[in-house]
Symmetry: C2
Subunit: 222 residues, 2 copies
């Protein structure tokens, strides 16, 4: 058979993927052009079309690769998180590191572009789904042990957490001090939820009863 190098072994391809992700992270969706990406990768502009056909397909491949790479770093930590406190700790660390790495910014740009471009939207959906997959198991485990078991939908909470992080990221890009202020308030709220979770059994049962009553009103009129 002919020598067919694995796709990932192609150095030009890899340089373009990295450059596309970096451009999205640093210059945003508006700065993303074939020429910019190629210049950053140090290769000729025409190679983008040779390797990926269109700029949009390069972006798609770059974002998928970036998400796979960063998710791998967190798989073990998510798997080890059982309690709300654990999950909050992982979330804090993930936010700090992914922020520094620019991956949340990349996601935010992808989603902003996806509002009016179905191809980018599909890429964004895929990336979100991958992160949510990782989060989901941990959130489900955590909820199962908590006072909120059966009251809050795990998948919905996972999506809500993702949405919240993305909003904070966008905020941080235009107003860092306010965003950090919001983040620290979120941590206070996290502490609060943790405390509620540690309430004595009597209080927990009261909470659950009230919650069920509120969400599932009896069929007969009161």
């Amino acid at each position: 058979m002919t020598a067919r190098p694995a796709p990932h072994a192609d150095p030009t391809r890899a340089r373009l993927l990295d450059a596309a992700a970096d451009t999205l992270r640093e210059d945003g969706i508006t700065g993303l052009s074939a020429r910019h990406v190629a210049a950053r990768a140090g290769v000729n502009q025409a190679l983008i079309f040779y390797h990926f056909d269109t700029v949009a397909q390069l972006v798609d491949a770059a974002c998928r690769a970036a998400v796979e790479a960063s998710i791998r770093d967190y798989r073990d930590r998510f798997a080890a998180a059982d309690t709300f406190a654990d999950l909050l700790a992982v979330g804090r660390e993930l936010h700090e590191r992914e922020r520094a790495a620019g991956n949340v910014a990349m996601m935010a740009q992808l989603m902003a572009g996806g509002q009016s471009n179905e191809q980018l939207a599909a890429t964004a959906r895929y990336c979100l789904a991958r992160w949510n997959d990782e989060l989901d198991d941990a959130v489900t485990r955590m909820l199962a042990r908590s006072a909120l078991a059966g009251l809050i939908d795990p998948a919905g909470l996972t999506e809500l957490i993702s949405a919240g992080f993305l909003g904070l990221e966008l905020y941080e890009g235009v107003d860092p001090s306010s965003a950090r202020h919001a983040m620290s308030t979120l941590e206070h709220l996290g502490d609060l939820i943790e405390i509620v979770d540690e309430l004595p059994a009597v209080a927990r049962r009261t909470l659950q009863t009230k919650m069920r009553r509120r969400r599932r009103p009896p069929r007969s009129a009161r």
Copy 2:
């Protein structure tokens, strides 16, 4: 004196402002060009530069005007909100209506563009600050009456709510069903907070003591 019509009375100016806001809402920051906006407004492209000098300044003016206009509709409702339940109800309504009007999408696009464009970032900061001004009084009043008084910073909570709404909006643009799922989970969480807030005085004091202990550890080592 010469006849100098009020700036808002200029029909071309007004058409351009509306068209710029609509373009941002529908086509996003990537679709925003002088030609697109002018075509939508039904006027010549050169008039953008005559009236606003640059496209960026038109966008700035359009977003400020749009935010002023929509805030005016909510001032009374925010002013009337005292409890957490009130605020949640206003938030729900605001989210639905502003989403339908496309104003949250406009903000999200503004912030996405602002990540790499200081002029857009300044516009985004201004718009966010205006919304937060409106929210802040209501959040402060609500917190003051709640079990969390003194435990959660009102300004931080306001910023957190804004960030969360923006994240949900971005999410909805690429994955509507997941975003709605997340939104309904948020409403469940809102109910939960409300219930905690209605706990008997004993439970509230326990909560406050635990929270203070966690956030402000004594200086002497345990």
